[in-house]
Symmetry: C2
Subunit: 352 residues, 2 copies
């Protein structure tokens, strides 16, 4: 697990995993010279690039690796393709941008057949069609390693609409555009490897709902574009590493702190049911589970109602979960009884 | 080895490697709907995308996998980084475009240390600086498999300058912008695994020159832009799979045939020396070796002198190696004695 506050450089020998994903990328990309055509480079959900049009180009890439981001057999090949595109759509959504073009790089292993790959593409293309995204490039290579899909997704955004992680201000309300912890609940009951069956008491609807959230998330592209176009949002990120970790990114890059109200965290009944069956704290799922692929944003307090209306106007639902405070307070979790405990910005790290 | 003319669909069971790299991509991306913002999609060196600016966006992606595209120990980490960017620069060059922004996805394995990755990035960034390319996005994931670098490279090109594979016309001269077979000669003497040492008779300069061509190729970005800007070129591709295979792509997509003159193929002394020491036909290296990363283009016969001058003006060197004929003649190799033999469009396939 990465702690982004302490993932320093050079303190842990030569093993890249000791730096954490973000620390390693920061180290490898340090000293890159600023350029007028790069409005935003490494360190946000996506890059913002100036190609001299009215719109900016938005670019992001994310890989999905068998055994790390998905498990064949737990997820179908269609779901694997869906998810590989979905995680990139979510990054584009977090900039408030319109996704448009995908480049798909496949590393295939011996176990993968043509029909498997066709299902991967079917899942990817079905989700792409829903968001008017088309595949414009591809690359296939065999490898002795696990099956891997690496997608680069390109989009466009009006120059004045793009939303970054930096920009949250003291007093802003913190919103999420969907429920938290559902995907993590799916992982909780479906991860194989231990000799336990799934308890019969876990209902079929809860299994289906949490599996779907885990294996085939719905990126909130419409919500992201509506929020960006509204002009109400001061910062935005998608929740991939977990609420606490991703709120940590906003706080660090905006130089602010945050208070999250435990009682306000939206959890689905399905996630609560899984947590209950497995005697797991649902709050932990919501704060640290990750892979929610909802949007997390900040909005001036007096504009919360308008932001919720903008989300509702595209068929979504928004939830206020806390507010931004000064950096000196760090991140705090306010429990139902009223007391505060520090909220660590930890979460999922793809290097562990 | 893929035969692009015969890599049909579905004839070889469910193993994706039976389709070949191009056949597999064609199968997976079939039926993609045309869109006005995609001027060129899957099936050229790079995609041409319309973002509403004077320039078009050019996008390509290519992965380098340990043990397939490079061998750690044979290539240094700096060379690995250099080559991963170089192969993408070469694709951008083949469109006549200006490379600008790179997204770098790393799959790291247990053997790779931070200092190794820093050297990979040093090699990549040094080459990037030479071509004004900067890293704008990244992704790192651990995997149980081999070390892999997957780079997406974005560039821009004037709407009227972009050069495609389709466009060669009967009577056009065929040009290459550099020598052929040097990288393949490097593979010939440096590939480990057999219990043979390198013959003492192979000179150090020949080793150095062929190693460099194999491990750290020089993409011909200036040549590509100069040729595109000249308006003289009817089709262009970079030689990555091998001259015969890549000329095959131009012929297939331009609906023409080609005659290549064996005596005109430019080979370096270093490649000839390696071929001589290993009793290998140098012509085979030039035709099928691959990974040359020079540009292959076609030019109307009366404009050859101007095209060679355009290449020379940016410090490069061009060679006329044959001419375009009707599709019915297919591809022919004209030997020094004058007779013709069929030239098969085979070459390197990343799935084998």
């Amino acid at each position: 697990v990465v702690n982004i506050e302490t993932s320093g450089v050079g303190s842990d020998g030569d093993d890249p995993t000791h730096l954490g994903e973000f620390g390693l990328i920061a180290r490898l990309t340090q000293g890159l010279e600023p350029r007028p055509d790069v409005l935003l480079g490494v360190g946000d959900d996506a890059a913002l690039l100036d190609i001299g049009a009215g719109d900016l180009l938005v670019a992001t890439c994310d890989a999905q690796v068998d055994g790390i981001h998905f498990i064949r057999g737990v997820a179908t090949y269609e779901e694997i393709g869906h998810k590989a595109l979905a995680v990139n759509l979510s990054d584009i959504a977090a900039m408030g941008a319109e996704p448009r073009w995908a480049l798909v790089s496949l590393l295939i292993s011996r176990e993968i057949g043509i029909t498997d790959l066709e299902q991967v593409y079917a899942g990817m293309r079905a989700l792409g069609n829903r968001h008017a995204v088309t595949v414009v490039g591809g690359n296939v290579s065999s490898s002795g390693g696990p099956f891997c899909l690496d997608i680069t997704l390109l989009g466009t955004v009006d120059r004045s609409h793009a939303i970054r992680r930096a920009g949250a201000r003291i007093g802003d309300a913190i919103l999420v555009t969907g429920t938290l912890g559902t995907a993590a609940a799916g992982v909780l009951w479906s991860t194989p490897g231990e000799d336990r069956g799934v308890p019969a008491s876990l209902s079929l609807p809860a299994r289906e709902k949490t599996h779907r959230a885990m294996a085939a998330p719905s990126p909130q592209v419409a919500e992201g574009r509506a929020l960006a176009a509204s002009g109400l949002v001061t910062s935005m990120i998608d929740v991939s590493d977990g609420l606490a970790a991703d709120l940590g990114h906003i706080c660090r890059q905006s130089h602010v702190g945050a208070v999250v109200e435990a009682a306000s965290l939206p959890l689905e009944a399905s996630a609560r049911e899984v947590a209950d069956v497995y005697r797991h704290d649902p709050l932990q799922l919501a704060l640290y589970g990750g892979e929610d692929y909802v949007l997390l944003c900040t909005v001036a307090a007096e504009k919360v109602r308008a932001a919720l209306a903008a989300i509702a106007a595209v068929g979504g639902e928004g939830f206020v979960i806390g507010h931004i405070v000064g950096a000196a307070l760090g991140m705090q979790l306010q429990l139902e009884a009223g007391q505060f405990i520090p909220l660590e910005p930890r979460g999922w790290d793809h290097l562990h």
